[in-house]
């Protein structure tokens, strides 16, 4: 199995698990199966049980906006350097 397809396969398998579909694939690599089990454990656990979900969601969105801003700045700095090299 090539690297690209294993990454795709993981996403497909974990999405299927979210939808209640659990296929037992004996052909898969043992390492891959362990990674999938970790993903399933994460999916099963509700880490937010005792936390304010709305606050966590807002914080995540805030972080994403901040990251987007930094990413835009890095891209525009890169463009400036290309146009006016030192």
């Amino acid at each position: 199995m090539n690297k690209k397809s294993i990454e795709d396969k993981f996403s497909v398998d974990i999405d299927a698990y979210f939808n209640g579909i659990e296929e037992i694939n004996e052909e898969s690599d043992e390492n891959y199966n362990e990674l999938l089990e970790i993903g399933k454990s994460l999916a099963n656990k509700d880490f937010s049980k005792s936390s304010n979900k709305e606050a966590v969601c807002n914080k995540a969105l805030e972080n994403i906006k901040k990251y987007k801003g930094e990413s835009v700045m890095k891209k525009s700095n890169k463009l400036l350097l290309q146009q006016h090299p030192l």
Binding site: I6, E7, D8, F10, S11, I14, D15, F18, E34, L35, I38, G39, L42, A43, F47, S48, V56, A60, N63, I64, Y67, K68, S71
Partner: protein, 50 residues
């Protein structure tokens, strides 16, 4: 930080890779790659702790 956001959106929000890609402005394929690498990192860290 991006990795944390992806984990939160995937396992907390149960979002598909395409939806995550739209939110954080990267390709769907890239989300899949990063997610797989995160799982590998987690596994390494967990094995280290044992």
């Amino acid at each position: 930080m991006r990795e944390r956001n992806i984990v939160a959106l995937k396992f907390g929000g149960n979002l598909k890779n395409k939806e995550i890609a739209g939110i954080i402005d990267i390709t769907e394929s890239n989300v899949g790659v990063i997610l797989y690498r995160i799982m590998k990192k987690l596994k390494t860290e967990m094995e280290r702790e044992v």
